[in-house]
């Protein structure tokens, strides 16, 4: 497999030869930030286009077809529209928090985005507590949502934010349990190490039954984390106009919108990293020629392929199921997903201890 660290070390060496080490690090930080933000936006655009097309297909429509071939330029038109719209400031809102909220949401999702291993060596943040860090960063996005609801001085926003708080904090638990299941199986929290360990078989095959169960629970809880239907209570249009971002306009709304899509991408990417091997090609131990052929497909293609497949599955959920009632959301989590997750973790631990994994 091609290792991207060869490129990064080359750049590093080049910069160090040009300037003192501290400056080199600063320049590298700026470069990385620029690349990460660029990738973030690019993926957001791809995701919005995909959402429109997939949604259309599920509803037996064609989706956008007019702007550009197959409507390819539609998203750019949308983004442009969003950029030139006025950002309206609300009377009697807490204006500092009101402005801060969208940035918190975006910051959390960008930070999480940086933990994703796109290919061998192509990862911004990688250290021995990766999974932990990932959970921490992904969960402070809810702070932004709560602030948005609180500061905009609007009943709908407030209800939406409170629902979102209740929902995201409880589903965080299931996500944590599923990740813990994988960590139990692998014995490491470092993301690059997690992917490395799947070189002979993906975790979903290695951990067989408990891993598959964890995968399914992760998909359900992940869907709830991204505030998407059937868990879109925080912004239930028919009940709360637009929930926590009712009062936002222009690019501030755009941040919420982009962050929502990117959270979907992140949830799918984490699922593919933890369960489907991340950038690791499909390897079956014993079939060496098959593994060789698979290795010719670059890691980033594998990663994006798996991620977009899971995104498609999540969109499939979204366009199939009706919205849950507010009392059903905690019921599903606390009465079903958490107990199942705990039992599942126990099963996984027993399997690992007894050596019943592949």
């Amino acid at each position: 497999m091609f290792d991207f660290t060869t490129i990064t070390t080359a750049i590093d060496q080049f910069l160090r030869s040009m300037m003192p080490a501290q400056f080199a690090i600063i320049v590298e930080c700026i470069l990385v930030a620029a690349c990460a933000l660029l990738a973030y936006v690019m993926f957001a655009i791809v995701m919005i286009f995909m959402e429109r097309k997939v949604c259309a297909a599920f509803q037996c429509r064609l989706g956008p077809m007019r702007v550009g071939p197959w409507g390819l330029l539609q998203v750019f038109a949308d983004v442009f529209k969003m950029l030139i719209k006025e950002i309206i400031s609300i009377n009697r809102s807490d204006s500092f928090l009101y402005r801060l909220a969208p940035y918190l949401v975006v910051m959390s999702s960008v930070l999480t985005f940086c933990c994703l291993p796109f290919a061998k060596g192509l990862q911004v943040l990688d250290f021995n507590m990766g999974v932990f860090f990932l959970m921490a960063t992904s969960s402070f996005g809810v702070l932004g949502i709560l602030l948005a609801g609180w500061s905009s001085n609007n009943k709908f926003s407030m209800i939406g934010a409170m629902r979102s708080g209740a929902q995201m904090i409880s589903y965080e638990l299931s996500i944590g349990l599923c990740m813990l299941t994988v960590v139990t199986l692998s014995g490491t929290m470092q993301i690059s190490e997690l992917v490395e360990q799947q070189h002979d078989a993906w975790f979903i095959f290695k951990g067989h039954l408990p891993a598959m169960l964890a995968f399914v629970i992760y998909l359900i809880a992940g869907n709830a984390e991204t505030n998407r239907a059937p868990f879109d209570l925080p912004e239930a249009e028919s009940e709360l106009t637009a929930g926590f971002h009712t009062e936002y306009s222009g690019m501030h709304f755009g941040f919420f919108y982009v962050a929502e899509f990117m959270n979907l991408f992140i949830v799918a990417a984490i699922a593919s990293t933890l369960f489907l091997g991340g950038w690791m090609p499909l390897h079956i131990s014993g079939f060496d020629t098959f593994n060789m052929v698979m290795d010719y497909i670059p890691g980033i293609v594998w990663f994006l392929g798996k991620t977009f497949f899971i995104i498609w599955v999540l969109m499939w959920f979204r366009w199939t199921f009706p919205r849950l009632r507010i009392d059903q959301v905690p019921t599903l989590e606390w009465k079903y997903l958490v107990p199942i997750g705990l039992v599942n973790l126990l099963i996984m631990t027993v399997c690992v201890v007894m050596g019943w994994t592949f």
């Binding site: 259309a56 297909a57 599920f58 037996c60 064609l62 077809m65 499939w316 199939t320 199921f321």
Partner: protein
């Protein structure tokens, strides 16, 4: 208590019903899409035969207008869309006088396509076709004379 009402049973039952829903949408995902790309598909566009777009007067097999100028359509129309102008002529052979159609005016802009006129007509002299591209720049162009 039946198994399906127990905690475990509910999990299985719920999963099954969710999977049924997913199956339905998956089928929908791969079916042919129903979107009509008008005007690109103008050549192949098929409008339902039952569509009511514009009133017209179908001719009989000899190419004659079937209308007997009875005016039933005019009185059936709730919108006053139709005006039937008649004149009385005397039949040369029998010497009886008879109303014939002079001018049949139909105001497309007033019509609500309820089809009451068509139902009222005793001779099936009027019908709806599906020439739906009726946009014009001037309202007076919507007032049509249907008989030739």
């Amino acid at each position: 208590m039946k198994f399906r009402d127990t905690y475990i049973g509910k999990i299985f039952n719920g999963t099954r019903s969710l999977l049924t829903g997913l199956g339905v949408t998956l089928k929908e995902f791969f079916t042919k899409k129903v979107t009509e790309q008008y005007p690109e598909n103008r050549k192949t566009l098929k409008i339902s035969d039952r569509h009511r777009a514009m009133l017209y007067m179908p001719l009989d097999e000899n190419g004659n207008n079937k209308c007997i100028a009875c005016g039933l359509c005019q009185s059936a129309c709730p919108n006053g869309t139709i005006t039937v102008k008649t004149k009385t002529v005397t039949d040369e052979e029998t010497g009886k006088s008879k109303k014939v159609l002079l001018e049949y005016t139909y105001d497309l802009g007033c019509c609500m396509f309820c089809q009451l006129c068509v139902n009222a007509c005793p001779k099936d002299a009027i019908a709806f076709n599906n020439h739906f591209e009726n946009a014009v720049f001037d309202r007076s162009k919507l007032v049509l004379k249907l008989n030739k």
